[in-house]
């Protein structure tokens, strides 16, 4: 279980990016975090990944306090961030250096097969399309079998068709060993397609605004009326969360957004 207890983050320039955020995520649960620009979504994810320290509050995984990157927590960024000097296979095996070579090869091959890129194993990252590169990044994050996988707007740079394709891909990967997924997104449909629970955040300072149980069975039909209903609920909540900054923005409160 991933437990966040009143996590706050104030940057050195005084920007209050995240204020007293608490959540408990069960193992295998998929949670989407959605919100407007500057609501602290990315800040939150980076704190859980151990890349940035929270100013106050506690992040715990199975009772263990998280203050630095942990082997049970993987992250997929907005960009693939593949290492250009490694082949696709070596990129996927990057986090498996501790394994013996034969086992690593096996794990890499399986991870690549799962994302459908086994034939690209010996290609260089520059030879991949954007969608393929992001699939390799997913394979790299999943290869060490993390308990928690964080996704920071992982599909936002892709075209709509590739995005839907990768969302389905991600779900089928998740089915296999059911890690906890924590997904930051600004795409309402993406949140509703993937998540069990959607958390709407409100900006400046970033904090939880609303929590919506999706309650749809998988696989989800994007055209079904129930799906549309949930989408509308999230959208309404999101709009309400953003109303407040319109007045604040008018007061000249717009600061540099930490991610969107």
């Amino acid at each position: 279980m991933l437990a966040l207890d009143r996590v706050s983050k104030t940057y050195r320039n005084g920007v209050n990016a995240l204020e007293s955020f608490s959540v408990q995520v069960k193992l295998g649960e998929i949670v989407a975090i959605i919100g407007g620009s500057g609501c602290g979504k990315s800040t939150l994810l980076r704190a859980i990944a151990g890349l940035d320290r929270a100013t106050s509050g506690a992040i715990g995984l199975d009772g263990l306090s998280i203050t630095a990157p942990h082997e049970k927590i993987g992250i997929i960024f907005q960009e693939p961030r593949l290492l250009p000097w490694l082949t696709v296979a070596d990129n996927v095996g990057f986090g498996l250096a501790a394994d013996p070579a034969a086992m690593r090869r096996d794990k890499v091959a399986r991870a690549l097969a799962r994302v459908g890129l086994l034939d690209k194993a010996s290609a260089w990252p520059r030879e991949l399309s954007g969608g393929q590169a992001q699939r390799v990044a997913i394979a790299r994050a999943l290869a060490p079998r993390p308990e928690v996988l964080l996704l920071d707007e992982p599909f936002s740079a892709l075209d709509a068709f590739t995005r839907a394709d990768l969302q389905d891909h991600l779900l089928s990967l998740w089915e296999e060993f059911r890690p906890t997924l924590l997904l930051v997104t600004h795409d309402v449909e993406e949140a509703v397609v993937l998540a069990d629970r959607v958390m709407v955040m409100r900006p400046r300072p970033g904090r939880l605004f609303d929590e919506i149980e999706v309650g749809l069975s998988r696989p989800r039909d994007r055209a079904a009326p129930e799906f549309e209903a949930v989408k509308r609920r999230v959208l309404t909540s999101l709009n309400r969360s953003l109303d407040r900054i319109n007045t604040k923005a008018a007061e000249g409160w717009m600061t540099v957004g930490e991610g969107i």
Partner: protein, 283 residues
């Protein structure tokens, strides 16, 4: 995968062969065009001297330069001069690269060290390296040490600058990937920083090598009794322009060859980067 690849190759092989032939023809044509000017000028000058329009004393024709080269080679003098010059460049380049890499890595990796060292090193860089010669001679004597030191100083700065710049330019996002996989300090250097820095490092090595060849000439001007630079001075003092041009040609060949060696040695490590030539090799 290989089967699919072979089928593809079979289908495309006719086209590929034709494209290859066309590319080769273009390359030959380019070489011909590039050689036309120097070869033409050489032939014209040779002709003018041959027909007695000039005595060719100050500007020797190609045949006389070649003769001089052959004589130098046959007497065994040439290989001696080449060997001593090569040794000086190698020693100076080695020292300069070692020091430049070490200081560059420290300054690039460690901000406090950079704040302390970099202003001084930048100030020293502003001094034309030749200006050190009198001091080096006082400190190290007139023989090999002062020459090697001068070359090393010349090589040091491009390497230092290249390494610091390359380390500072390493993408923070890539470093974060290393952090999420909990790389230790040495692993971070070995698996992320080193490969990321390598392309810029090779460029600075080549720049440093070029300067090394430049400074070996300066070093050998300051009182050497051997070496290609000595051949230049000797040719000037005894009025043998053919010897000067011959030495210049040998410098050109050696400089290009050593540069090419650096390129060859570094190539396997930069295969991931060199998109154009890998594509060409693949087709």
């Amino acid at each position: 995968m290989t089967i699919a690849l072979e089928e593809q190759l079979d289908g495309a092989s006719v086209d590929a062969a034709r494209a290859k032939a066309a590319r080769r023809a273009a390359l030959v044509w380019r070489a011909v065009l590039g050689l036309a000017l120097p070869v033409g000028v050489g032939l014209i000058w040779e002709g003018l001297v041959w027909f007695g329009y000039s005595n060719g004393r100050l500007v020797p024709p190609p045949s006389r330069i070649w003769q001089t080269l052959v004589q130098l080679a046959q007497s065994g003098e040439l290989s001696q001069h080449v060997a001593i010059t090569l040794w000086r460049v190698a020693a100076g380049f080695g020292l300069g690269v070692a020091a430049g890499t070490l200081f560059g890595a420290i300054a690039g990796y460690w901000t406090l060290a950079r704040r302390i060292m970099d202003p001084t090193l930048q100030a020293l860089r502003a001094i034309p390296s030749i200006a050190w010669v009198p001091l080096f001679i006082l400190w190290l004597g007139i023989f090999e040490q002062s020459k090697v030191a001068l070359i090393a100083v010349g090589v040091f700065f491009p390497i230092y600058l290249g390494v610091v710049g390359a380390i500072l330019a390493v993408d923070r996002k890539i470093v974060e990937v290393g952090r999420t996989f909990r790389l230790s300090g040495p692993a971070m250097i070995w698996r992320i920083l080193l490969p990321a820095v390598l392309p810029a490092y090779v460029v600075s090595l080549r720049a440093g090598l070029g300067l090394g060849w430049m400074f070996v000439v300066a070093a050998e001007f300051m009182g050497a009794s051997q070496g290609l630079g000595y051949l230049l001075i000797d040719g000037q003092q005894l009025g043998k322009p053919a010897q000067i041009v011959a030495a210049i040609l040998v410098f050109a060949v050696l400089g290009k060859t050593t540069d090419w060696l650096v390129e060859i040695v570094s190539k396997p490590f930069l295969r991931w980067q060199d998109s154009f030539s890998t594509q060409a090799a693949g087709s």
